[in-house]
């Protein structure tokens, strides 16, 4: 028994309209495989246009599947109408029916199914407090704020007791505060209703904080599928490494130099030198070129008697509870985050240390992770 199973799904949009005489469009989604556990919260994460919303829409039945199969609770849904798939869908733009009150909006899909009036009333009143919209039931959608609309929108998706709850960037139109509040609320809700959920977002923070597992997609291809900790600590390639984390991982081209028994990362136009972790010694050699990735948290400023490389501060941002310092390494700006209270200004001399064991190696051409053998 599984929530959602996507097997070898492809999507290609037909090439109609829009003048350009390209014969065949590229696949919007390429050979996607994804299996969720029952009750799991999975985030589809990727930049705009990567195919995550397309995947969601194919699952919902709003989009044809070019090839492959989608199963919801082991039922193949490819040829089922959206209404027969037992899904709830929360939209990005809220998609409320403007002429109806909030109450009717929530109950609308139950009415379509011919559920009795008493039953509708019971279920709407049951869901409303869960989404904190019991005070809103008599209002019209135009009177609601963005956050309220989204709450109603989600209430509408879960009132039908779906087997699978789909959410399409539900927070993207909310501003900072409302977005945070709503995120917490979604988390609480999901804990309460324990419904298998697929959540589309381009915000890695949302994905990291909400999801049990994250599927990172780029150019229609699934890059990595794993728990937030896995994708953060063990990214499979440069894209995932750069996409997860804020500020993103520092990824710099490096040439490896062997000195005596040890290998070091060296960088163009910089005297920064970092020892290569010994676990990579069997994959690197003198003159080996690759990319080195290190998270800003793993770059440190050493004390007065540090053995770190002397460098100069290029940028300094004080964000209150953390400080971001940029250091020029060749033409790359290496970012580091510190909670240290010291205020720096551009040009200050510092000693730079890097937690060498936390570095990752990526192939220059393909961006694939180079692992120790």
């Amino acid at each position: 028994m599984s929530g959602l199973r996507i097997e070898h799904v492809f999507k290609r949009y037909d090439n109609e309209g829009k003048g350009k005489k390209k014969k065949v469009n590229d696949f919007a989604v390429k050979d996607l495989n994804l299996v969720t556990e029952e009750g799991e919260f999975v985030a589809l994460l990727g930049p705009s246009g990567c195919g995550k919303t397309t995947t969601l829409r194919m699952t919902a039945g709003l989009e044809e599947i070019t090839a492959g199969d989608i199963y919801i609770n082991d039922v193949r849904v490819n040829d089922l109408e959206p209404k027969d798939r037992h899904i709830g869908l929360a939209f990005e733009d809220y998609a409320m029916y403007p002429p109806l009150t909030v109450y009717d909006n929530i109950g609308f899909n139950l009415r379509a199914k011919g559920v009795s009036k008493e039953e509708i009333d019971k279920r709407v009143r049951e869901i409303a407090p869960l989404m904190q919209c019991d005070d809103l039931l008599d209002k019209m959608p135009v009177k609601l704020s963005g956050g309220q609309k989204q709450r109603v929108n989600i209430a509408r998706a879960i009132v039908r007791r779906p087997d699978l709850l789909l959410m399409d960037e539900p927070l993207s139109h909310l501003d900072g505060k409302a977005r945070q509040a709503m995120r917490t609320e979604i988390k609480r809700l999901i804990n309460e209703i324990k419904c298998t959920t697929v959540y589309v977002t381009h915000d890695q923070l949302e994905a990291m904080s909400l999801a049990d597992r994250i599927a990172i997609i780029n150019f229609g291809v699934l890059q990595q599928y794993g728990t937030p900790a896995e994708v953060y600590d063990d990214p499979v390639n440069e894209f995932v490494a750069g996409f997860i984390g804020e500020p993103p991982m520092n990824i710099i081209e490096t040439t490896i130099v062997g000195e005596g028994e040890h290998f070091f990362f060296t960088f163009k136009e910089s005297n920064l030198k970092i020892q290569v972790p010994e676990r990579y010694y069997n994959v690197v050699s003198n003159g080996f070129k690759c990319k080195m990735g290190v998270r800003p948290m793993d770059v440190l400023i050493g004390g007065p008697d540090s053995k770190g490389t002397p460098e100069h501060v290029a940028t300094f941002e004080n964000l209150g509870d953390e400080r971001r310092i940029g250091i020029r390494v060749g033409d790359f700006l290496l970012m580091l985050i510190t909670e240290d209270e010291t205020r720096y200004k551009a040009g200050d001399a510092i000693k730079l240390e890097v937690r060498a064991e936390k570095t990752h190696l990526f192939d220059i051409e393909t961006g694939a992770r180079i692992r120790s053998r």
Binding site: G17, G61, G88, Y94, A95, Y97, K113
Partner: protein
Amino acid sequence: MKTGPKTGTKVLLNILLLIYSIFALFPLIWMVILSFKSDAQMYNTLFVFTPTLENYRIVLFTTDYPKYLLDSLIVSGFAVIVSVVVGVPAAYALARYDFKKKEDIAFQILSFKFAPEILVVLPLFMIYQKLHIYDTYFGLIWVYQLISMPLLIWVVRGYFEDISVEIEYAAQVDGYTWYQIFFKNLIPLIKPGLVSAALLAFIFAWNEFTFPLLLAGTNVQPITVAITKFLGTDTAHYGQLAVAAVVSALPAIIFALCIQKHLVRGLSFGAVKG
């Protein structure tokens, strides 16, 4: 703190407005006055005269005037109905679907309004003769589409574009068919635009002169053309002419007043993101 213009400016503005409204309304007022004058007093009185309803009696009860009025109603009414039935789906398609030459087609529809009617009426006249639809209701209703359809399509299209497509998806997931979505959800949403565009189209069609003058004449005679009949070859019965004009202007004026509020809101709301 005072934010509006100063009192002096206000007075000046109002005086200017007054002058303009007299200028704009005077022909109408003069027409109404004329309609109550007898032929004898037509040329030798200005505002002081013995009012008479004789002109109204003659025009409304001794001529075919009611028939012309009916013709106008039939032609304009059906023209708008056809425009709505054809134009709303067309506007929906132009707003929602992506197809080849979409913008070209939309522009083509708008371009019907570009050329002066007198420019296209000659070829139309010949086509109408050949098709034997000259001087028929069908022919006039058809040609009136040039006037009412572009207006309707462009206004309603703007409304459709403002409706989030996700509403349609939501309804689909809720289990409604496309037709149910269209009639239950989309039509109510575009109603303000549809109503104002339709009424405006009706007024335009009602006031149309060139097409009915040249493409109809004996069987079908809208009021605009029929009025010219009151200009006799020997004498001009200005009183009767004025009555005909006053009565024919009534529906348009009544409509315009009724929908005044909706008209401005309806026509501006769709175009500008609100």
